[in-house]
């Protein structure tokens, strides 16, 4: 039961990318101060922080990152809790912040995600990310994340005739959107041919089917809706917050061609919001790999199973077409600092619903959705947002 | 009387041809093929070693025998390429066949005859009643120094034999076994050395031939058999030529040895060599036929066996993985550079 409505009154993010000059603390501060300024709120007003990092210990040798973030942003002595749910850490932190405010326990809660990934080699980063799967039976055998999604892609191709070119079109679209986003890691357009000719990582996924290794942070400020206008003229209301889990090990799932946790979280979210897929105007989905966006479009109910790939290739999900998907550039184009991604998705949807998304603004966007996945689908978090009336 | 109740062999799928090795060293492939009597050799995959080969052979042996792995009272693994200097291969085998914990296990090393030495030990244990069944394995991923003559022959493979004395289980009785042993430095590898060293032509007459012929003659003398009493003979086979010459010297015919002579097509599997030869012979032997086997291990010694096939052999073949079928049906040729990569030698060379 929801005690009271919750709104986002401030969002901020650091530029995503290879941030050679910035460490974990720099990134936290960059995004955190931007969010506080956006909400026009002082550091001392914050009551609680949920901080999300996936593998800061492996990437930067730093644990205890929520207290560190509270410390860096001048939130003196407030309770701070770190949340780790692999690549869904950010979305999960947002949901915990939502629960804290909705329950009435806290009024002003900050949720902040950060990941500093480029201080280690890409092989070390790949090993750290592998911890999102089953260590004993997946990573132990040298099964990488591209490998797990490749296994899903191969099965999807087998069952539904999905093609490598259709998958490539996801990356092309997302790079196109990223080129319009000042925070994005890749601000350049690419072609189907570029994707098809990029280095094979794990058949059938090529380098340009995969989201990059990125540094970055994103922060959001949550308050009760009834107090929201004190901080922001256009508060964005969270009208659904849902989450589900599944087996960590891919092979143990009921199906390799759907992410069941996404389906369950989406069904619950639609129920809470009293909306259907067709009511969504803008959505940020978890495209850690091109195939993941195809699965998401199906599992979130935008397309029937097996139909999303062709629709994406036909341009139905480009900016201001039938449904605008990953206007930020998604994980592929904007970058994927794993702990930050879920909160960055929320920031993008907030900007879209406020009408502040500039070149990549979706016309008349009223209802937005974010979809954040952990591992190969063991966690999925779905939020739905609407501009407060 | 103790006898073989089951056996299994294993040869990796990879092969390299004499031509491919000869090309690298500027040698004449034809004269090497003729001189060594070998066409190609088996090569282990990157993920294979003497333990994995031993487990594969042991699993085939258990399947063939029809006994449960937990009935084994002993496992001896003979090899000169044990993956660990300290930590037994035999325990890896016991776990790899899920043999439980109530058994004795040890590794043996006697160059190329450690596997047959294991057979003799198991025979002793079985005949004394200390154990009901025991397994002896010869398995190697032999190393030949790049450019050395051994590089053309040193190969990978192995065989496992289960010995017992239950009448209805025995497919071949071991009528007699003898050994001839001396201290002869014909071939050796020091602790930590990557490749073996050898005495060149000294390995022939004072090494291989002296021990093979003496052990075989002792066996014939003590059993009263003549070479012609045997339907088949298997000699240790470091190349295709030595066993043919030894057979001729001892009065065995080419026909008697041809079924058990696998070196020309898989190379010298060292500890596995005479046992793989025996396995190939048992694959085709009929009840009542006799087989003579003489192994050889540098350093040096030979173990000689007189074996007689029983009526049980045909019924047990339903679970047999025949070695010639394995050799011919699973075969992938690799070139010299892949061979080096598989052997992890690129850094070292």
């Amino acid at each position: 039961m929801i005690m009271r409505d919750v709104a986002i009154v401030g969002v901020g993010m650091s530029k995503f990318g290879e941030r050679w000059s910035s460490g974990l603390k720099d990134l936290m501060a960059e995004a955190g101060i931007a969010a506080l300024e956006d909400a026009n709120i002082s550091s001392r007003e914050i009551e609680m922080l949920y901080g999300s990092t996936m593998a800061s210990g492996r990437f930067a040798g730093q644990e205890h990152t929520a207290a560190l973030m509270a410390d860096q942003l001048g939130f003196q002595n407030i309770p701070a809790v770190r949340l780790e749910n692999a690549c869904a850490s950010g979305g999960s932190a947002l949901r915990q912040g939502y629960i804290a405010v909705a329950s009435g326990i806290h009024d002003i809660v900050v949720v902040g995600g950060v990941e500093k990934m480029t201080d280690v080699t890409s092989a070390e980063a790949s090993t750290a990310l592998g911890g999102a799967g089953d260590q004993e039976w997946e990573l132990f055998q040298g099964i990488t994340f591209p490998g797990l999604y490749a296994l899903m892609a191969k099965r999807h191709m087998y069952e539904y005739g999905t093609t490598e070119e259709q998958m490539a079109s996801v990356s092309v679209k997302n790079h196109d959107n990223a080129s319009k986003n000042q925070y994005a890691q890749f601000r350049r357009a690419i072609t189907i041919d570029d994707v098809m000719r990029s280095k094979m990582v794990s058949d059938p996924l090529k380098l340009l089917d995969c989201s990059p290794i990125s540094d970055g942070a994103a922060v959001a400020v949550l308050v009760p809706l009834e107090k929201a206008r004190k901080y922001n003229d256009t508060p964005i209301k969270i009208i659904a917050s849902a989450q589900a889990s599944d087996t960590l090990r891919l092979a143990e799932r009921d199906s390799l061609t759907e992410i069941k946790a996404t389906k369950i979280a989406a069904q619950n979210a639609y129920k809470q919001a009293k909306l259907e897929a067709k009511d969504i105007d803008v959505v940020e989905v978890h495209d850690c790999f091109s195939i993941a966006e195809i699965l998401a479009m199906e599992d979130l109910g935008f397309y029937k199973k097996g139909k999303a790939a062709k629709a994406i290739a036909d341009g139905e999900t480009t900016l201001n077409s039938k449904l605008s998907v990953n206007t930020s550039g998604g994980l592929k184009g904007c970058g994927h600092p794993v702990g930050a991604t879920g909160i960055k998705q929320a920031a993008e949807v907030v900007w879209q619903l406020r009408g502040d998304a500039k070149e990549r603004q979706v016309k008349g966007a009223e209802v937005g959705m974010t979809h954040n996945v952990g591992g190969s689908g063991a966690t999925a978090v779905v939020h739905i947002y609407k501009r407060a009336d | 009387m103790a006898g073989i109740v089951g056996y299994g062999a294993y040869v990796p799928i990879y092969r390299i041809k004499v031509e491919d090795i000869a090309k690298v060293w500027g040698e004449d492939a034809e004269s090497i093929k003729k001189g060594l009597g070998i066409r190609e050799k088996s090569v282990p995959g990157k993920d294979e070693d003497a333990a994995t080969i031993a487990v594969e052979a042991a699993r085939n042996a258990i399947r063939h025998s029809g006994i449960k792995a937990t009935e084994l009272g002993a496992i001896f693994t003979g090899s000169e390429s044990h993956p660990y200097a300290v930590k037994p291969t035999a325990t890896i085998v016991s776990a790899g066949i899920d043999a439980g914990n109530r058994l004795m296990a040890a590794d043996l090393e006697f160059a190329c005859k450690a596997g047959t030495a294991g057979m003799q030990m198991v025979i002793g244990f079985v005949e004394s009643g200390m154990i009901k069944y025991g397994m002896a394995i010869g398995s190697d991923t032999s190393q030949g120094r790049p450019g050395d003559a051994l590089e053309y022959t040193a190969s990978a493979g192995g065989a496992a034999f289960i010995i017992g004395k239950e009448k209805k289980q025995v497919i071949a009785e071991i009528l007699k076994t003898v050994s001839f042993t001396s201290d002869t430095p014909d071939f050796w590898r020091r602790e930590g050395a990557g490749f073996p060293s050898h005495g060149g032509r000294f390995t022939g007459e004072p090494g291989y031939f002296r021990h093979i012929t003496n052990a075989t003659k002792m066996l014939l003398e003590e059993t009263g058999f003549k070479p012609s009493d045997f339907d088949y003979a298997v000699f240790h086979q470091p190349n295709g030529k030595f066993p043919t010459m030894a057979a001729a010297q001892l009065g065995f015919t080419t026909k008697q040895i041809e079924n058990g002579l696998l070196t020309p097509i898989i190379g010298n599997t060292y500890s596995g060599a005479s046992m793989v030869g025996l396995a190939a012979t048992l694959d085709i032997a009929k009840p009542g036929q006799k087989i003579m086997v003489t192994s050889f291990g540098s350093g040096a010694g030979s173990d000689s066996f007189a074996i007689e096939v029983t009526d049980n052999i045909d019924a047990k073949r339903k679970n047999l993985t025949k070695i010639m079928e394995m050799i011919n049906s699973r075969k992938v040729y690799i070139d010299y550079s892949t061979y080096l990569k598989n052997r992890g030698s690129i850094k070292k060379v």
Binding site: T127, S202, L205 | V332
Partner: protein, 131 residues
């Protein structure tokens, strides 16, 4: 630490011999074994079950960019194998000249999975070979 003597040792029977388990309450079988049945939760009654190692490829990929621990092994095939007894398991698929595709029948093999440098432990495990 993801690799250690103890972590190797405690899973030897599963890694070497495909020892999994099944739930006597509902009949579901599991490889790798689970402590608690996914379907029955608290009511589960788990007993050991050994899998034969025969199955077929349900999905397959070839990893060309490996983690550090497998850098000398790449490229290698990884499959999701549907064991004939039911469970699905990820595993290495060996190259033997038969193209591993969805539907290809496989059988279990015993191989080295990972070697800790020149002085460390050798981790053995099942892999699958197309037949």
């Amino acid at each position: 630490m993801e690799r250690s003597s103890s972590s190797l040792w405690r899973k030897i029977r599963s890694r070497y011999d495909l020892v999994g388990n099944e739930c006597k309450n509902c009949g579901s079988s599991y490889f790798p074994p689970r402590v608690v049945c996914r379907k029955c939760g608290r009511k589960s009654k788990m007993v050991e079950k050994k899998f034969a190692g025969d199955g077929e490829i349900y999905s397959i990929t070839r990893i060309r960019v490996p983690p550090d621990t497998f850098k000398d092994e790449a490229p290698y095939f990884i499959g999701v194998i549907k064991l004939k007894e039911g469970p699905m398991v990820e595993g290495h698929v060996l190259e033997n000249g038969i193209e591993p595709k969805i539907g290809t029948k496989v059988r279990v093999r015993f191989r080295k999975m990972y070697v800790e440098g020149d002085e460390g432990l050798i981790y053995y495990q099942y892999k699958f070979e197309p037949v």
